[in-house]
Symmetry: C2
């Protein structure tokens, strides 16, 4: 078989990861118990990742584990929350043999430690289909201070953390479609696709500063449109100001049509947020404190003043960039 | 296509279910925010259900939704917790068209209401494999009062709620293997397989009364063995005392070899618990208050006094019943 039973798998691979967490009750009970007294509000989010859809079957198991955690950490970051713990269910196919699962558990353990997350519980089942991982992440935020996507207000600047487009370009690289790139830049893109950098510290630093806040998972324009609709505002994005990594800039210099992946590619997991103009210095300081660049990329307008109800992307001359990729959906 | 996109699905089907829950933020943000101040400890558990493994592809979508919730509610019941809310991720195949999903959402909504659960978040993705649902359930329990499976002590009685074997016999019935049964009894078994009855009220009533407590999901003997190992005790079960439904009793009278499904079949989702002898009246009252029968089915012994380290099943003459089905695992 090369496959342990469910109990053996939990015992051998996952229990050591939970031992640092007394609340998980050693994964021996039906549920974990946590005391949250005095910790403010609880923040909860869930995401599912399917092999061949959200990660490549040939991706290293350790980076698949990392991606599962980090995609969910990014949701906490978007709310300004401090990570607390995760519950993971894994539907495993025949491709997940013992060696695969050991590598997965190793990557999981490394990221749990790196991000201060407790493993609070889980379930492993068999599936004849592709491996599917579902992660629920729990965090805490001081009462009433959670960041929300519906708090963008006319007059706010629009900001984004890090760089855009690397996730979608990293997928191309991992698929062998960007072989002309120098190896370090190629590897940088692949790593950004496989192991996104959730902006947890920045999200916590933006409490009380940011207006609207969310993470860029579906693509910049699609997510900005979500924020615009939720907040009842229009959003203008200045295309020339969008922050690119050295690797992304090189790809796009070579093939300008790939700029649409900066606007509409998914999997960036950067923070997109608005803030009043008077908070500019404080926002830059929050970025510096969190060790991540923050870039002003546009502005929030009243709906009536805009030609479009949601998002408009401006080119260097103030013209409108056509968005033929309004959002990259895994579900297409 | 007959399939809405992810956002349309969440908006149309699941958002109305979340609207009664301000904490879910209308499912519009990256995460739900909940105030738990003064509510004691948080209890969290996760389970995954795969089509063809944990439910039959032809099961009605509404009962699949019910089973997903109820299996998880049973984990809360085992901890003595009060249900709070759920996060659901759904990996959907082509078989889950709009009509299927609408029926699923309807069943989900009915059970959310019936059990007082909030829909706190979720994610829907596509899979080329069988539909897979992952549910994380959150509940609360007064600080320090969660029931635990490792608290069974020598001298305790062993109790079980409801009846045993109906889940496994219900699967046989749903597969058309029990066609000789009168229709009402046949349908009773199928319903028990499709819509287990999580003993939430009983679990809450057993706080401060029960020693060890867990739910019967893998099968009576396998779960009793988990409790025995976790508590460091031996457990004796009196086979003649095991509570059977009228339908199960009829099946077994006709085919005594099917009694192994009472001992080892899974999917019962009854509570298995120990309690001191002096608590018998209080345990019976807790059952009556919760509207569910509780039956004394054995005893907890010191390990040294038992012939076996884990579980022994006794027949009417005190002899040992062979357990050839030590536990029914979905993962076999």
């Amino acid at each position: 078989m090369g496959r342990r039973g469910e109990f053996a798998l939990i015992r051998d691979l996952f229990r050591p990861l939970a031992q640092a967490t007394p609340q998980a009750l050693d994964l021996a009970d039906d549920a974990a118990v946590l005391s949250l007294e005095g910790q403010g509000d609880l923040v909860a989010s869930a995401d599912a990742l399917v092999s061949g859809v959200h990660f490549l079957p040939a991706d290293p198991p350790a980076t698949i584990a990392a991606k599962c955690l980090r995609v969910n950490l990014s949701d906490l970051a978007a709310m300004g929350a401090r990570p607390l713990g995760v519950l993971i269910t894994a539907a495993l196919s025949a491709a997940q043999d013992d060696a695969w699962m050991e590598a997965f558990a190793r990557g999981l353990g490394e990221d749990l430690t790196a991000f201060g997350l407790a493993l609070l519980g889980g379930d492993t089942v068999s599936t004849p289909g592709p491996a599917t991982f579902s992660i629920t992440i729990l965090g805490t935020v001081p009462a009433g201070e959670a960041l929300r996507r519906n708090h963008a207000r006319p007059g706010h600047d629009l900001w984004v953390s890090g760089t855009l487009g690397d996730g979608a370009l990293g997928l191309l690289a991992a698929q062998g479609q960007l072989l002309g790139l120098p190896a370090p830049l190629h590897d940088h893109l692949v790593d950004r696709y496989r192991r996104p950098c959730p902006r947890v510290a920045l999200g916590m630093g933006l409490r009380g500063l940011a207006g609207g806040c969310m993470d860029v998972s579906d693509g910049l324009c699609a997510d900005a449109a979500h924020m615009a609709r939720a907040s009842g505002v229009a959003i203008e994005i200045d295309a020339p100001d969008l922050p690119l990594s050295e690797a992304a800039a090189l790809v796009i210099a070579d093939a300008p049509e790939r700029f649409h992946l900066v606007l509409g590619g998914g999997d960036d997991y950067e923070l997109l947020f608005s803030a009043p103009a008077e908070a500019r210095d404080a926002v830059r300081k929050a970025g510096a404190d969190a060790g991540v660049a923050v870039t002003r990329i546009g502005r929030v307008l009243p709906v009536a003043a805009s030609a479009m109800p949601g998002v408009r992307v401006c080119d260097a001359t103030g013209g409108t960039v056509g968005i033929d990729h309004p959002g990259w959906t895994h579900d297409a």
